[in-house]
């Protein structure tokens, strides 16, 4: 098999199985190995990515994303412009989010083990809009926020990594978070994930100027529970 894109590492079925099992085990044993989590996602996610791709084709905005293949990094997104937007808009809130948690959109690992160029792009897009998903849902980076976003992504996309992450991640929540989780967050996120628009179809880069409240209404997202 030839290399289909820059960061592609062609692998056969046996190698993929080794990677899937090995990365799954390593992710549990050493959760700080984020490379293991991404490899687990790539080796187990092909069916889910295909279904995501089909859903993108039938949606006009999603189809546009597939054709244009926008990427989100510091070269394609003008962070200064985002900072200059009025408070409460998607762009401003995203800029605040990055600043608050000291993140950069360049930190996403490249896709290596998916043997189809378009599916590799869908995976890449999924990774790159993860932070924007946090912002749109109003979720912080703590354990509870991450588990919530994983549930959302798991329900919307069906990626095994998200489903397992949401499931096992919730087991590791502390008692205070668990109570909040069971009573407030989980019912809200499940309902939101099922009724809102598929985030992979959303061309976020076109909506920087939009106030978050209006943006959420367009996507049919229920406002998040207070004080998260």
């Amino acid at each position: 098999m030839d290399r289909l894109y820059g960061t592609h590492k062609p692998t056969n079925l046996v190698q993929k199985s080794i990677l899937a099992v090995g990365s799954g085990v390593m992710s549990i044993l050493d959760p700080s190995r984020d490379d293991m989590i991404s490899i687990f996602g790539e080796t187990t996610g092909v069916l889910a990515l295909k279904s995501m791709q089909e859903k993108m084709i039938v949606d006009p905005e999603g189809d546009e994303i597939l054709k244009k293949r926008p990427v989100i990094n510091t070269r394609t997104v003008d962070l200064n412009f985002l900072k200059s937007l009025p408070a409460g808009t998607l762009g401003k809130e995203y800029s605040n989010f990055l600043a608050k948690y000291n993140l950069t959109p360049d930190a996403r690992r490249p896709v290596s083990f998916i043997d189809d160029v378009e599916l590799a792009y869908v995976m890449r897009r999924y990774r790159e809009i993860h932070d924007l998903t946090h912002v749109t849902l109003g979720m912080p980076i703590n354990m509870l926020g991450e588990v919530t976003v994983k549930w959302f992504e798991g329900i919307q996309y069906g990626l095994p990594m998200c489903v397992l992450g949401g499931f096992f991640g919730s087991v590791r929540l502390g008692p205070r978070h668990t109570a909040k989780y069971l009573n407030l967050t989980l019912p809200w996120i499940v309902r939101t994930a099922r009724q809102s628009r598929l985030f992979i179809n959303v061309y976020f880069e076109k909506h920087w100027h939009k106030p978050l409240v209006e943006f959420r209404r367009e996507l049919n997202i229920i406002e998040p529970p207070p004080k998260l």
């Binding site: 056969n12 046996v14 190698q15 080794i18 990677l19 090995g22 990365s23 490379d35 293991m36 290596s112």
Partner: protein, 302 residues
């Protein structure tokens, strides 16, 4: 350069071998890639910097622990003697040097006193990488040389753990240009290191230079398997298992891809023996280990 590489196809095998692994061509192998010579060293350096702290674990996993058997046998072939000046080149994490000293302890217990002069409370890694002409004398009867500081650091740490640190001199240097005077050592070993060097012939010549008359050169290295069926399974195993295991354990697919490729481009047993002979070593022979997966080559300076 292009004409020269065309001409080399027509030459006899020895000369073309020397050309590909030697001083005169301007490109060399980095695994299956052809790279400019000055780049190979930097790339190899990158590989070993990345793999250093997981190096021993990966060796165990990839060879199912068999590399320990090979190295134990290698030391038996060396037959350490306490009176010898010994150097292990590309010895980074210290596997061979530690075995050498432990073997000395077993058979010559009186020799286990500290032999580094002047007495050195903390093991120093001497850096001899500057290309000055100043040559030195070895400070210890057991010298470990490696081009990569990270590998030496791992070795130094391990030597502290097994209490051999005051008997070893660690030196950071290039195997093609050792900083020692001529004729200093009785035994020179290089284990699983020579295939990473840019100019194998220069390494062997340099070994000849620093050995005393009567001294012995010993090389333990991966080689070509002598059985077609086994070759097939070995290839399948290498290509299918080793890079993914490298990714999972050491987070480094590319370095282990380089490893399996560098094994395949290394000259086979007879060709390497010819190369050693061409550097003036006498009584050169080799012994296969595990059907040729590894081989020990030996030669004497007479």
């Amino acid at each position: 350069m292009f004409i020269r590489s065309l001409l080399s196809i027509n030459r006899c095998s020895l000369l073309s071998l020397v050309r590909t692994h030697s001083t005169s061509s301007n490109t060399t192998h980095f695994g299956f890639d052809e790279v400019p010579e000055h780049e190979k060293q930097a790339r190899v350096n990158q590989v070993f910097t990345n793999v250093a702290d997981k190096y021993d674990l990966m060796n165990d996993i990839m060879s199912f622990g068999v590399h320990r058997v090979w190295k134990n046998y290698f030391i038996q072939v060396v037959r350490p003697n306490p009176e010898w000046n010994y150097i292990d080149v590309a010895g980074g994490t210290g596997d061979i040097a530690f075995r050498y000293l432990k073997e000395l302890n077993r058979f010559h217990p009186s020799s286990s006193s500290s032999s580094v002069s002047p007495p050195d409370p903390s093991p120093q890694i001497t850096n001899a990488n500057s290309s000055e002409k100043t040559l030195v004398y070895p400070m210890s009867k057991c010298v470990v040389a490696d081009i990569n500081a990270n590998m030496l650091a791992v070795g130094k740490q391990r030597s502290l753990e097994n209490n051999l640190h005051d008997r070893i001199q660690w030196i950071e240097t290039n195997a093609e240009k050792l900083p020692f005077h001529d004729g200093q050592f009785d035994v020179y070993t290089i284990a699983f290191g020579i295939r990473n060097c840019t100019h194998i012939d220069r390494v062997v010549s340099e070994a000849y230079r620093v050995l005393k008359k009567g001294g012995r050169f010993l090389c333990l290295e991966f080689s070509q398997v002598n059985n077609t069926l086994l070759q097939y399974f070995y290839d399948q195993y290498s290509k299918t298992f080793i890079p993914p295991m490298g990714q999972i354990i050491a987070n480094d697919w590319k370095s282990y891809q380089y490893l399996i490729e560098s094994i395949r481009v290394f000259p086979k047993q007879t060709e390497f023996a010819d190369l050693i002979r061409s550097c003036n070593f006498r009584y050169v022979n080799y012994e296969n280990l595990s059907f040729g997966i590894a081989a020990i080559h030996s030669g004497y300076k007479l």
